[in-house]
Symmetry: C2
Subunit: 436 residues, 2 copies
């Protein structure tokens, strides 16, 4: 089947991420989609710079309209940003019968109804997974995953800059202005951080999620928006004493008289998972009447996390425009013809780290013998607890955390350990994963 | 458009949940789908009992094959469970050209390749969101949300019974046998809990997720499976001392030589979100090369959370079989014709609770005056911190957490508070959400 052909408008961080993912994971994507997805054209003012990155594989032009005019192109990806030229180009692409993928939350929050209306008339899709919470598939979850539910509320940490600042203020007890400077130095905040720190960016995203949760128009203009600039370090400290953390939340909630739509700093009980989402990470909670409370967590920004969402939208389009059931929803995610017979490893062939508990005689030299056997096997020790025996007892527990090793080697070493006279019972072995 | 007609095989907890959600949320579902989804027939051995629940709206039969034979039925939902009759019925439904939705992870983990193969041949869908992690849309996430990625690993708490037991063991310092009895009394564990506590149920689910993450056949028979029955209370305690929690994880991981597929108790750093998933809740982490680490959290079992996933699959089918782009992927989740103009509330009309910080003179009677004003306004106090002034200072902070009240009433009360001579600066007001 012929590739789905894509034109990129704008070739900055996210655009380059899209290009790189489509290049690097093309095989995997074809296995999932049943056809290739190919960047055919790229528009960027600095043509030579962009051409250097894309090489021979795609044509680079300075005029975005040349991309839209190309009849070979199936999907236009808008990554220019802002409300101005981006709006005109998106509407022109729709009018030209192209499907559109965009990460532009500002555009959709302000002009969404006009754009979606035009797309419906033209019979094309406008997909925007990348506009909210980066690579976390929260748009798909609201559009498809939770469709059984009457959604009651959506609450999210949907701006990484402000969450980074709040995390740092709490961690280090610093005030807002100091941490903002640090965030700017680290690239977590822009030179003009207004949209982030005043809550505007979060309100753009919250407006989109509210529309999808409740089936209402996108109404950014009616959102209540309050940023984090007036937050004192002492409020973070007092909140902590009371069992709460302060997060900038984008909240939409269905109430008897309508819908609440608001962005503001919010105290959340420390014991909630979302209160423990730190740094530049994002998380969205959705409460539905059937499913209860659910949470979605991941990186909310950055080149590849955002591009991950753009490419997922492309795969959705590629699957849908082929129009055959098995392609639209390949039951096991990959096309049946692309399933591979990778071997499943026996547990002995798995490399992981271990927790070991040994019941040992409380006598000199046991530790040396045990660590000697492990050392011989090339198993290194990460941490260790050895208690003295309780009064009147001659036995105690020896606890060891190891670094990574092959399980077969560990098992062989443990048989030697268990053969020691001072090791009094079978060793308890539990695997450990850092999940970092 | 005529309704999508559904036949339910089995009418226990989940089946009744499906029926109830489709009844209660029919309007919302039609708004999302563009057509109704109607339970046309139900099969259950106790016909009278089932008929009492469904009333006149659907026909109840004792013979599941009568449902499959009904030419009006578009989708068969299999909720019988197990490998026996359920397998025969699913294959017969596929042969009859029906789409199938099932929550039966055991069946799919063992006979998935045969069933999916038959479905591909017949050109029908077999959807199974409910088979893994209840209402959390993790199957959709693997099939569609993360398609840009070369997935590196999937690790999940995907059995609520064992997570409840491990949480209780840690919380209360009890041993496995004691907590198992408690879990059985509470209905969190079955009379024969073998499949849960020995890790078999988690391995069924991990095998399905591994197939979807890596594009390999479903290979439950090759999974390494170790349950929690031998876990000692002391191991949970020692792990805690070392900065880890023990969870039963279903792990699949891509390594150079193949795929790891294993279920076993696992130490996880306490600071990871997933280590803090307690009780019967589920959570799945997915690591992709583009998106990084993501996490999906919610209820993994129960009537309506599971039925939420079944109904989402029905909506997917209803959208896909209509075959028009705007219906397959309504951009804002609801059909354009169903968007409602619900009012967005002004912030003054929002009801929430508040954190208040007041700079006050350190003198007798201030607290009484402030709480008096709040009390007059009907605002009740949840918690309070009042420090004595530091040595040599005559001012201090008064911190109040309130219960829910209308923001307009709060603002009016705060104007009175700020007019008090002993209140020395504007009151800092931060909203609070329990997100429970």
């Amino acid at each position: 089947m012929k590739p789905l052909k894509v034109g990129l408008l704008g070739f900055g961080t996210v655009g380059q991420g899209v290009f790189e993912i489509l290049r690097r994971n093309q095989t995997e994507i074809v296995r999932r989609t049943g056809r290739a997805i190919q960047v055919e054209m790229v528009s960027r003012r600095q043509v030579a710079l962009a051409q250097k990155i894309v090489g021979e594989s795609a044509k680079v032009v300075s005029d975005a309209r040349a991309v839209i005019a190309n009849p070979d192109i199936d999907v236009v990806i808008e990554l220019i940003g802002g409300y101005g030229i981006a709006k005109a180009l998106v509407l022109e692409a729709i009018a030209a019968g192209k499907h559109v993928v965009t990460a532009n939350k500002a555009l959709l929050a302000v002009h969404g109804d006009e754009i979606f209306g035009a797309a419906a008339k033209a019979g094309v899709m406008v997909l925007f997974e990348a506009a909210v919470a980066g690579g976390i598939p929260i748009i798909k979850t609201l559009r498809e995953g939770l469709t059984a539910n009457r959604i009651q509320w959506v609450a999210g940490i949907i701006n990484g800059t402000t969450n980074f600042i709040l995390s740092e203020m709490r961690d280090k007890g610093l005030d807002f202005a100091t941490v903002l400077k640090e965030a700017q130095a680290l690239g977590y905040a822009e030179a003009d951080p207004t949209f982030d720190i005043e809550g505007v960016d979060a309100a753009h995203k919250a407006s989109l999620m509210a529309a999808m949760a409740f089936g209402i128009p996108v109404q950014f203009d009616k959102a209540y928006v309050e940023g984090i600039t007036k937050l004192g370090a002492e409020d973070i400290k007092y909140a902590e004493q009371l069992g709460y953390r302060i997060k900038l939340l984008g909240i939409s909630k269905r109430v008897a008289s309508g819908v609440e739509l608001r962005v503001h700093p919010t105290l959340i009980p420390t014991k909630r998972l979302i209160a423990n989402v730190e740094g530049a990470m994002n998380a969205v909670m959705v409460q539905g009447d059937a499913v209860g409370t659910t949470l979605y967590y991941g990186k909310g920004a950055g080149s590849e996390p955002t591009a991950s969402a753009v490419v997922a939208d492309l795969v959705d389009i590629a699957r849908m425009v082929t129009g055959q059931v098995a392609q639209v929803a390949p039951v096991l995610a990959f096309q049946a013809s692309s399933v591979q017979a990778l071997p499943i490893l026996a547990i002995g062939q798995v490399i992981t780290s271990f927790y070991l508990r040994m019941r040992v005689s409380d006598e000199a030299g046991v530790l040396a013998k045990v660590t000697g056997i492990l050392g011989e096997a090339g198993i290194s020790i990460d941490a260790l607890i050895q208690h003295e025996a309780k009064d009147g007892e001659s036995q105690t527990d020896l606890i060891i955390l190891t670094h990574d090793c092959l399980e077969a080697i560990m098992d062989k070493a443990l048989r030697q350990v268990e053969a020691l006279p001072s090791v009094l019972a079978s060793v308890v072995k539990i695997r450990k994963e850092e999940l970092a």
